[in-house]
């Protein structure tokens, strides 16, 4: 079996705000969290489009992420080796595709998916934002966004 990989790092996707684009790629960035974002919801699609928190990278030495009443402080780290970000090619490109109820992309691709299986290197990333410290509780949280 051969799974082709194409490279398309220059797309016409919206570009990131300049403070994030400084990380080396203007369309895509990587954020590393200790632990994971655990969202309670009945249907996994409930979380689509929902707000997670506020990311602030105006000060490149001290990026912050505010989630609810917790403030995370992080840093910008160089990756030891550049990472290529691969995205699975979907049949009809992009997000408008109707989800196939059975498709669970983890693990081996099923044989009948081979026709459209393929991956695209969307970006080569050399830096990431790491939030490795414990979150600090914020008590006097103002109501302003």
């Amino acid at each position: 079996m051969i799974v082709p990989i194409s490279v398309s790092t220059k797309n016409d996707n919206p570009t990131l705000p300049p403070s994030l684009a400084r990380l080396g790629n203007d369309e895509l960035c990587l954020i590393e969290l200790q632990g994971s974002l655990d969202v309670e919801c009945n249907e996994s699609c409930d979380r689509d489009g929902r707000l997670v928190g506020k990311l602030n990278v105006d000060n490149p030495d001290k990026p912050t992420l505010l989630i609810g009443h917790h403030l995370l402080e992080g840093k910008i780290a160089n990756l030891p080796k550049p990472l290529g970000v691969l995205q699975r090619n979907t049949g009809s490109q992009d997000s408008e595709v109707v989800p196939d109820a059975q498709e669970k992309p983890r693990g081996e691709p099923r044989a009948d998916l081979n026709v459209s299986t393929g991956w695209t290197i969307k970006a080569v990333v050399k830096k990431k934002i790491v939030f490795s410290k414990r979150p600090m509780p914020i008590t006097n949280l103002n109501r302003k966004p």
């Binding site: 994030l20 969290l33 080796k81 290529g84 995205q87 990431k128």
Partner: protein, 363 residues
């Protein structure tokens, strides 16, 4: 700025992967503004997948992260902000690997090409070039080199390893015609050689053309012969008959020189065949020195098994004797010495260093 789940994050979950790029691969991708590099992941469901570029092979290894890596892109909403596209818990590491070409030998068993077997072709199973290229875990350049090294012909799109005996015959004919037609072995017109062999010996043109390309460079229709390679192959052709009955060194050398002819006699050297023969000196007399055919390509690939077999063949080896039989499983001399340290015991005697088995496999 706002960090949100993308509107399609639940559908897209799992559609991203992170691939650690070795420097040379990174350069290749970054330099690919308009010439898209050819990359692919190859492998049968039962094999570990490999990533192939045009000329290199990497094995893939998944490394689990305890942290989460979020892939974020700019939001399509008017308000700006950043969308979470996927959350990942692993990255894929790439490790340079040797192309897995040894599979070819097994796949092509029974498909050998020999003279006069055109009739057999019809009943034979087929294994095409395309099929083999798709199923072999090697990059295109490595695959083509592998076919050349293994002396596999591509006839009408099918793979046919040539039998050693027939190959020797063709090479001997080529050498003879170089002399009798008065051609220079550095610039011999391929067309003339191919036609002569086709007309007088019924050797198909495509066979000769490929053989010629294996043993030298073809440039603008002129063949610059690799004299060492041809001489080696012919020597092997003679030695191959002496797997069980040893041949005296002197007799062998004389026969070898006679076969290659006067013009290439000077190239003949026993060292060309290193890794393919065993020298047996019996009872101090130099005249009794004999050779047997012992190809390293017939030994196991796995180091432990190879050492076991080597020490079964001979209980002790001089280092210069054992080295040729290790060169194809070690990438460089440092790796080879590591293997020797691990699997053999060095004994320093009056005649130099001898290697013996670390564990006795005989009892």
């Amino acid at each position: 700025m706002d960090l949100k789940f993308s509107p399609s994050s639940s559908q897209e979950a799992g559609s991203f992967r992170l691939l650690e790029l070795p420097p040379e691969l990174c350069k290749l991708i970054e330099s690919s503004v308009d010439n898209t590099p050819y990359l692919s992941i190859k492998g049968h469901a039962s094999e570990d997948a490999v990533l192939c570029t045009a000329d290199k092979t990497y094995s893939l290894r998944s490394v689990v992260l305890s942290n989460t890596v979020i892939v974020a892109t700019a939001s399509k909403d008017a308000g700006g902000g950043v969308d979470i596209r996927d959350q990942l818990h692993e990255i894929i590491e790439l490790v340079p690997a040797v192309p897995k070409l040894h599979k070819l030998t097994g796949l092509l068993r029974g498909l050998e090409y020999d003279e006069g077997d055109e009739d057999r072709v019809l009943q034979m199973s087929h294994y095409s070039y395309e099929q083999a290229r798709n199923e072999t875990q090697a990059s295109e350049a490595e695959f083509n080199q592998g076919l050349k090294d293994r002396r596999i012909l591509v006839l009408d799109g099918q793979l046919r390893p040539i039998t050693p005996a027939h190959l020797s015959t063709i090479l001997e004919l080529l050498l003879n015609y170089l002399v009798s037609l008065g051609l220079s072995h550095q610039a011999a017109p391929v067309e003339e050689l191919v036609s002569t062999l086709a007309d007088e010996h019924e050797i198909p043109r495509q066979v000769t053309e490929q053989v010629v390309a294996w043993f030298g460079d073809v440039n603008e229709g002129l063949w610059s012969m690799d004299a060492n390679a041809v001489t080696t192959e012919i020597g092997l052709g003679i030695l191959r008959h002496h797997k069980h009955e040893p041949i005296s060194n002197a007799v062998f050398m004389a026969r070898w020189k006679k076969t290659v002819g006067d013009s290439f006699e000077a190239v003949v050297q026993l060292s060309l065949l290193s890794g393919n023969y065993l020298r047996n000196t019996s009872l101090a007399s130099d005249f009794d020195e004999t050779l047997t055919y012992f190809p390293s390509s017939g030994l196991p690939i796995e180091p432990a098994a190879r050492f076991a077999e080597l020490f079964l063949t001979r209980p002790r080896w001089k280092s210069e004797e054992i080295e040729p039989f290790l060169s194809d499983i070690a990438i460089n001399s440092k790796e080879r010495d590591k293997l020797l340290l691990k699997y053999a015991r060095a004994l320093t005697g009056p005649e130099g260093v001898w290697y013996t088995a670390r564990v006795s496999f005989n009892n």
